[in-house]
């Protein structure tokens, strides 16, 4: 599995992709693999504020339920509604079509705290 070079990653297994002031947020391939068959995805509606390091939603698999943490702070401008009816998409394309939310960032300097693709892969390698 490839982890896009232009994304940034958290130790809680989220990714964030920045385009201008918009941050697209999802969970990593490794995260969905650990969870297994995903059955529910709960994410906030547009207009909700999310805060760095705080849980903004959850992903539930057959086996367990996990919180998803915001890698950056800001206001949700879009939620990926297809996941409500097709949660399995998150197993299939976690780095692409199965993004969770888009956020208008408040503080772009937060990005410096996040991991590069190489560092994240090293991190999950160490975790195995």
């Amino acid at each position: 599995m490839t982890y896009p070079e232009n994304y940034r990653y958290t130790k809680e297994h989220e990714w964030v992709h920045i385009e201008g002031e918009t941050a697209t947020i999802g969970i990593t391939f490794h995260a969905q693999q650990e969870l297994g068959d995903i059955v529910y995805v709960d994410v906030p509606k547009a207009g909700t504020k999310v805060e760095t390091g705080k849980s903004f939603g959850s992903v539930e698999s057959v086996k367990a339920v996990s919180d998803v943490y915001a890698p950056v702070s800001g206001e949700v401008i879009a939620a990926n509604d297809t996941l409500a009816t097709m949660p399995e998409k998150l197993n299939e394309d976690p780095h692409g079509a199965a993004w969770l939310i888009k956020v208008r960032m408040e503080n772009p300097t937060e990005l410096t705290n996040l991991l590069s693709a190489a560092d994240y892969q090293k991190y999950i390698g160490a975790e195995i």
Binding site: Q33, V39, Y40, S58, A64
Partner: protein, 367 residues
């Protein structure tokens, strides 16, 4: 690499080499899934699956008073077992709570083979040994002598029969025979923890890998899948089979756990019988009952159950049921409400979500 503190089955390297996802299961490094829980679950319901359950413990009781001892420490009627027959039973404390739930196999009048839960095997052995004082028999901790492989599903018979000259079709459910299986001396029992037909095969640990591979090869034309403990859990839950630490435990009696059928109070005294007689006379106050989610969510182990908005019980196991396409679970409720058709709510992440009690088992295999 597995955590060195964890115990490993003889198939550990086989699982790791095959890319199974491994987890710490009660101190054992075990495969939780191979290809995916739902895919493995469906393979067992529609075709056949293979599980490594070598973490399960074995205890052997032999001697002139072996039957008397096993009858003394378990709830079911051991005297009714025929040679080559097994039954499900409870190992209880004096106060009526479970030490463990076990399978008792009668090998001969003076020889019994107990299959017990992995994480309980040490305390089970100590419990039985302590009770054996004064009985003319020996109790052997035999966990290291056996690997156990479970072949489960409607095609289990066809797959297993290719590997042995022992006629398997005549073996009835919960009976067993000793014979050669995949070239290896084995105990072949028609038992399982999935709600499907199938066999549990006990072999020497050093031969486990070759038997595992032989079963996978023989099963290939039938679409056999190696399965992990994740699918084992969803399969047993659909069939409403108890899991120690969830439906049953030291503070739960078989009468509460809807397991009165394994308690034979008329057989005479056994460890826990006084407490159960008292409880039966007074009536239980809480009981295990199945539920289906009506609202969106999954009521999981430990979640609170509400009746008319008030805390009334707890969930013991809950999961999506792949065969049924519903979210199901088991919970304890006051006995008056522990019957099908009761509207309940389950606290899921601080939100009450609607559910309803239903008849069990959730799934029963077509005959």
């Amino acid at each position: 690499m597995p955590d060195p503190a964890l115990q490993r089955t003889p198939l550990n390297e086989v699982h790791r080499a095959a890319g199974a996802k491994m987890v710490d299961f009660g101190g054992w490094d075990m495969p939780v899934q191979y290809s995916g829980i739902v895919e493995e679950h469906n393979a067992v319901r529609s075709a056949v699956g293979l599980f490594d359950v070598s973490h399960m413990g074995e205890i052997e009781v032999r001697g002139p008073q072996a039957m008397k001892l096993v009858d003394h420490v378990t709830t079911n009627a051991v005297a009714k077992l025929k040679e080559g027959q097994a039954h499900y039973s409870g190992l209880l404390y004096e106060h009526g709570g479970f030490v463990d739930d076990i399978l008792v196999h009668k090998v001969a009048d003076d020889s019994f083979f107990l299959c017990v839960n992995a994480s309980n095997q040490d305390k089970d052995f100590e419990h039985i040994q302590a009770a054996a004082n004064g009985f003319d028999c020996e109790v052997e901790f035999a966990g290291g002598k056996y690997a156990q492989l479970a072949i489960q599903g409607p095609k289990a018979l066809a797959v297993a029969q290719q590997l042995t000259d022992v006629p398997l079709a005549p073996i009835r459910y919960y009976w067993f025979v000793d014979g050669v299986f995949a070239g290896v001396p084995a105990r072949i029992a028609r038992t399982g923890y999935t709600g499907e037909d199938g066999f549990e095969v006990y072999v020497a640990p050093e031969r486990a890998a070759e038997v595992w591979n032989a079963i996978l090869s023989a099963g290939q034309p039938y679409g056999i899948k190696p399965c992990g403990l994740g699918a084992r859990n969803t399969l047993r839950l659909e069939s409403k089979m108890a899991l120690y630490g969830h439906e049953i435990g030291a503070s739960i009696t078989p009468l509460e756990a809807d397991l009165a059928w394994i308690v034979k109070l008329d057989k005479g005294d056994f460890i826990g019988s006084d407490a159960l007689r008292r409880q039966a006379a007074k009536g239980v106050t809480r009981k295990l009952v199945g539920f289906e989610m009506r609202g969106r969510g999954i009521g999981r182990d430990g979640y609170e159950v509400l009746l008319e908005g008030k805390p009334a019980g707890w969930v013991t196991s809950g999961s999506p049921a792949p065969t049924l396409g519903k979210n199901i679970g088991l919970c304890y409720l006051p006995v008056e409400q522990a019957r099908p058709g009761q509207r309940i709510e389950i606290m899921i992440r601080n939100q009450p979500v609607e559910a309803e009690t239903v008849p069990t088992p959730f799934y029963k295999r077509p005959k």
